[in-house]
Structures are given as structure tokens and as C-alpha cells.
């Protein structure tokens, strides 16, 4: 109990106002600005899968929704969200950090007595983890709603509500865990690639591409590890 309390106090001391600004900016760029894209892709995915399962293979409507919800909540939603975040935000984050490195701004922050880890990296990592979790949630909701409407028309949301009882909660928990871990992996790879940037302008695109490749490898590796656990 005491440790917990002191942990909170330490966290409060660690967290400073400029970090909140960086976190909010990160959440805006990674989370809010990706939302339309995520929802559009989620609706398309819901429609495509329903078309395959329900209309091509003749699976019953409720069974189609059950299969889709399992697939979406456990795998599709965290993975596709992670892929979108890699394409959109991981490269941007790495480029920004590498550009700061090239222009000597990291050195400036150190000279001002700021902790680069606390000011630049910690809010970015936290922002990416939170964005990954919430975007994954929105992805699932949009996919399932689109699929329900495609299968049952205006009765779709009612069928979706009935799913609640039959949902495998372990799979849902796994999906949540994956979305958090994917966000963490993407942010760490982007920060690593960005902070390793050298002093030449050509190091900035190198950092961006390195970040994308490393994030992809990390996300699939994490997915495999969670699957095996």
C-alpha cells in the first residue's frame, strides 16, 4: 500500500506541465487525426468480411456476426490499427526526433536542463499506447456495426446486442492486451530509430524507414508471442 502511494507521489513529481502538452499533441496527431481513416477502413473491413462469410459461403447472420466479432476483437482490430499507426505515425515520430537530432535541438533541451527521456520520449510512448488502445476500440465498434447493418439491416444493432452473452471474454482481453503492446512496440521502435539519427539530413528518411520496418517486425513478433502464451 505504502509503495503504491509513494509510486503515485513519485509519478506526480515526475510528471511536469510541458509533458502534458507533448502528450496531448501526440494524442491529437496519432489518435484524433487518424480516427476518420480508421473508421473508414473498419467499415470497409466489416463489409468485405460479411460479404465473404455470409453471402459467399451462406453462413447464418448471427453466426457470421459471432465469427466476425471473435476475429475482429481478438486479431483484426489491434493488428490493422497497428499497421495504420505504423504507416501514419511511426514514421512521422521517427522523422521528427531525427530532425531534432540533426538540428541540434536534442542538445538544446539537455542544455536547458530538461530530461530528453521524460520530455520527448515518455509522453510520445504513452500517447501512442493510448491512441492504439482507443483506435482499436473504435475500429472494433465500426467493423461490427457495419457488419451488423450489412447482415440484418435495421435489425442489425439488435443482433449485435445479443452477441454480448456469447462473446469469449478471454479473446477480448487478448485483443486489449495486443492493442496496448502493439502501441508500446511501435512507439519504442520509432523513438529508437529517431534518437539514433545522425547529423546529416539523409539520416532523417533513413530513421523513418528503419522505424517502419522495425515496428512491423516488432508488432508481428508481439502478436506471435501473445498467441503462444
Amino acid at each position: 500500500m505504502a509503495d503504491r502511494l509513494f509510486g503515485v507521489i513519485r509519478w506526480r513529481r515526475l510528471w511536469r506541465p510541458p509533458m502534458t502538452s507533448v502528450l496531448l499533441r501526440q494524442l491529437y496527431f496519432t489518435g484524433v487525426e487518424s480516427l476518420v481513416l480508421i473508421i473508414a477502413i473498419a467499415i470497409a473491413v466489416g463489409g468485405i468480411i460479411v460479404n465473404q462469410i455470409h453471402y459467399q459461403y451462406g453462413q447464418a447472420g448471427s453466426e457470421t456476426l459471432r465469427l466476425l466479432s471473435l476475429l475482429t476483437l481478438n486479431e483484426l482490430s489491434p493488428l490493422l490499427t497497428a499497421l495504420i499507426l505504423i504507416a501514419r505515425s511511426s514514421s512521422a515520430m521517427a522523422s521528427e526526433l531525427a530532425a531534432m537530432q540533426v538540428h541540434g535541438e536534442i542538445r538544446i533541451l539537455r542544455r536547458l536542463g530538461l530530461s530528453v527521456r521524460d520530455y520527448l520520449l515518455l509522453p510520445r510512448v504513452l500517447g501512442m499506447v493510448l491512441a492504439s488502445f482507443f483506435l482499436s476500440l473504435y475500429f472494433s465498434a465500426a467493423t461490427l456495426l457495419a457488419a451488423a447493418l450489412a447482415v440484418g439491416g435495421f435489425n442489425g444493432p439488435h443482433e449485435l446486442a445479443l452477441l454480448g452473452d456469447s462473446l469469449p471474454w478471454r479473446a477480448v482481453g487478448q485483443g486489449v492486451l495486443k492493442s496496448l503492446l502493439f502501441g508500446l512496440a511501435i512507439a519504442l521502435m520509432a523513438c529508437r530509430a529517431g534518437m539514433r539519427g545522425g547529423v546529416a539530413m539523409t539520416d532523417i528518411p533513413k530513421a523513418a524507414s528503419q522505424s517502419v520496418i522495425n515496428s512491423l517486425v516488432a508488432v508481428f513478433a508481439v502478436d506471435l508471442v501473445v498467441l503462444l502464451l
Binding site: R16, P18, E96, M100, I108, R110, R111, L112, G113
Partner: protein, 180 residues
């Protein structure tokens, strides 16, 4: 604050709490030499500000955000206190918050003089016990004139360290000309 020590090469210097000193750094050392001095001073006491010649600003923040960054990082002040400090600092620079539209610009959009004003304002807002001035940090039309007038009044109790490859020291109320 007494007992500030600084090791340059093999020599250990004990500096008084206030006064102005030129630190003759290794010319080959460049940025690393300045970093070395800053690191030593930061490790002893965080009450320190840095005044660079040029640059020294983060490009994705406005001039105002750049000025407030170390203040909000090192000191926990209320918004009212921060605003009061801004007003006081700006009045010393011949401006005020309502007329400080230039502070909303990004460093790349601002003129050289506005960037120098922002660098000075950043130091004034901190009201530090010690200031490390990088080579050329007090030069230029604006800084040369403004800081000569401001320094004695604002930071008279502070320790000013001019770090550079030479000891050319602007007209400051220096109690001693050089440590090395």
C-alpha cells in the same frame, strides 16, 4: 549560493555566488566544452539558465512556448505567477504581453532580433542564480544594448559565466575579468 565548483582541464575553480567571469574554454572543444560546463553546473544545482548566441530554440514550439519551457519544467508556478513574470520580463525588453504578437511566431518565422529577444526573455523569466552565456550570446544589436541596461538590475545577485574561446567580455558589471 556559495561553493560553485567547476573543473576545467586539470584545474578546479571555486566560484563565488555572484559576479561575472569569462571562462576561457578549449577552442577545439566547441559545443562539447560548453556542454561539459553546463553538465557540471546542472549537477550541483539546477538553478541555472543558458543564453546562447543563436539557435537555442526548438523549431516546433512558438517563441513564447520556447521561453516558458524551462520555466514550466523547473519551477511549479501558478499561471498568474507565470503571467506576472512574463509581463515583468517583457517590460524590461520594452514590450508587454498585449503587444507581444512576435512571441506567437515559430523561430523560423521570426526575425533574428525577435529570436534574440526570446532568448533573453527565457533567461529573465527563470531569474536564475547562475547564467552561462555561450560565445556571442551578448552580441548583436539588440542584446548588446538591452542587456547592458538590464543585467545590473535584474541579475545583479547572479553568477554570470561567459563561456568561450576568448575572454572578450561585453560591458557588464564584472567584478573580475577572468577565472583562467
Amino acid at each position: 549560493m556559495n561553493g560553485t565548483t567547476l573543473q576545467l582541464g586539470d584545474t578546479l575553480y571555486t566560484l563565488p555566488a555572484s559576479g561575472a567571469y569569462a571562462l576561457v574554454l578549449d577552442e577545439q572543444g566547441g559545443d562539447e566544452a560548453v556542454d561539459g560546463v553546463l553538465t557540471q553546473l546542472q549537477q550541483q544545482d539546477g538553478d541555472l539558465a543558458w543564453l546562447p548566441a543563436e539557435g537555442g530554440l526548438v523549431s516546433n514550439l512558438s517563441l513564447l512556448e520556447n521561453c516558458l519551457l524551462p520555466l514550466r519544467w523547473h519551477l511549479r508556478l501558478s499561471p498568474a505567477d507565470i503571467e506576472a513574470r512574463c509581463e515583468q520580463g517583457l517590460s524590461c525588453l520594452g514590450s508587454c504581453l498585449s503587444e507581444a504578437g512576435w512571441l506567437r511566431q515559430r523561430p523560423a518565422q521570426a526575425s533574428r532580433i525577435d529570436r534574440q529577444r526570446a532568448l533573453c526573455l527565457r533567461v529573465l523569466l527563470m531569474r536564475p542564480a547562475r547564467v552561462l552565456i555561450s560565445p556571442g550570446g551578448l552580441q548583436g544589436r539588440f542584446c548588446g544594448e538591452a542587456l547592458e541596461a538590464l543585467w545590473p538590475r535584474w541579475l545583479s545577485g547572479s553568477l554570470l559565466l561567459y563561456a568561450g574561446g576568448d575572454s572578450s567580455w561585453p560591458a557588464l558589471p564584472a567584478s573580475e575579468s577572468s577565472v583562467t
